[in-house]
């Protein structure tokens, strides 16, 4: 575990690279899914077949 948080002294670069990637991709997923659900709900409200 200390290995993981140490990253051979480069933790300050390695972990942010992963954290930023994970955060951005997670946000992208949430945003995309949110828009999709909203579109589905709107269509339902209009009373589409």
């Amino acid at each position: 575990m200390s290995d993981f948080f140490g990253q051979g002294g480069y933790a300050g670069y390695v972990l942010p690279a992963y954290a930023i990637s994970a955060f951005a991709l997670a946000l992208l997923v949430v945003w995309t899914l949110g828009a999709y659900r909203k579109a589905k709900a709107r269509l339902k409200n209009i009373g589409a077949p």
Binding site: Q7, A11, Y18, L25, A35, R42, I46
Partner: protein
Amino acid sequence: MSFLFEFANPKRFMELSGALLPWLATAAALALIAGLVLGFGTPPDYQQGDTVRIMFVHVPAAWIAMMAYGLMALASIVGLVNRHPLADLAAACAAPLGAVFTALGLVTGSLWGKPMWGAWWVWDGRLTSFLLLLFLYLGYIALRGAFDDETRAARAAAILAIVGAVNLPIIEFSVQWWTTLHQGESILRKGGPAIAPVFLWPLLFMALGYTFLFFTLWMLRMRTAILDRRARTLMLRGAQ
């Protein structure tokens, strides 16, 4: 009659993508988990130490950024030439995704460049042409938003996407054409990959995961756009 024909394709797309989506999303999750487990289990690189792990998020992001642009340009060509109703939608839906992957490629590259090269950023051929890719995506998105008329927006944006595709080979070959601080090609290189298998496997799994994730999100955005358009059509019809 032509209306029916146009509606048929998005309908078929909805069926097909609906069946494919759960599989794609699962594949993305599995590949990413495998990539992360393998990636944090590697030994450090002989020169770059543990920063080699940044490669597993940097390289896939850069690959997808370029692939997404290629797909966007292809869809733009089909949209412009064939006037296929789905093609323009596909191009428009790829742009914001491509922009995010491009930004991730830039940020993770910066976090790798500082400890290894000694600089967050340099204006060499590779980095500069890749920054141009981000501006092309942003320009595409801005151009689409600048027109009230959707057909005109699509046409103008498609032309930008196609002209900008010239930047893709420039990014790819920049490290061969010019002297750059960015190193040369590691995988598609004469004499085979220069990456030890222990680093190559996590890279391939992460790249697969990013690819599946991109296609999952792309399909979802296209489905959203189709549903929105259907809702608009129904509202217009109801208002009449």
